[in-house]
Symmetry: none
Subunit: 136 residues, 2 copies
């Protein structure tokens, strides 16, 4: 929605500016030229926006598209994934236990399993690996 507003306002402003310039040259009695210039300007503006969006679309999809399949491949359960998400947010085992209404022991078990499944030695390394795998 923000893009739409930006594009619209940019179009309106450019149109206003162009037709305001046209008012000066009314004296020279050549209205058609200003209109043609305005149209050309708007057309190429839209072309610029459209082409740029298309070229960025490929990169966008790659950077956003995350998780799902690899989580299953790594045999990470829902509970373990919940714990992983909270780990990446910087919570301690105790805090995670309080958030999920579980004991710290349970969290430790989940973390231990996560470290094995992600092939990590520490929780910080697990975060890094999970982000590389686009799980987080």
């Amino acid at each position: 929605m923000k893009k739409t507003v930006l594009v619209f306002s940019a179009l309106i402003i450019s149109l206003l500016l162009l037709f305001q310039l046209g008012q000066y040259s009314i004296i020279s009695k050549d209205m058609n030229i200003e209109i043609v210039i305005a149209v050309v300007a708007v057309v190429f503006f839209i072309i610029g926006v459209y082409l740029n969006k298309k070229s960025l679309h490929k990169n966008r999809v790659e950077s956003i598209e995350i998780d799902s399949k690899k989580i299953e491949e790594l045999d990470i359960s829902k509970r373990e994934y919940e714990v992983l998400q909270l780990i990446s947010k910087g919570f301690s085992n105790k805090e995670i236990g309080e958030k999920l209404f579980l004991s710290e022991s349970t969290i430790k078990t989940h973390v231990s399993n996560l470290l094995v499944k992600l092939d990590a030695k520490r929780r910080t390394q697990a975060i890094q690996i999970a982000k590389e795998l686009r799980i987080l």
Copy 2:
């Protein structure tokens, strides 16, 4: 967004058709007008590309640029920043010490200072906060 583009292109096409009759007299009058139109087209094309890239930048790829100003504001030294980077890569204090040819004690000192400066309780939280501040 698709509707917006469609409506606008339809409007512009109709405008072009309406003022196509006037274009004959333009060409015969002055050749410089074509150059002006070309310049306007290029300029607005660039504006379109630029605005679109800026609007997409906020939503999608935000953590590319590191905010070196905030590092200074937080009074984080170069050494501390080096340690912070290695922490985010999942290394232990001992490993960081080996990489930087420092003792583990020194790393602990740096980490402790970093936690205070980043207002974090744990190294994992420090990573999260640093990424929010676009320091990492």
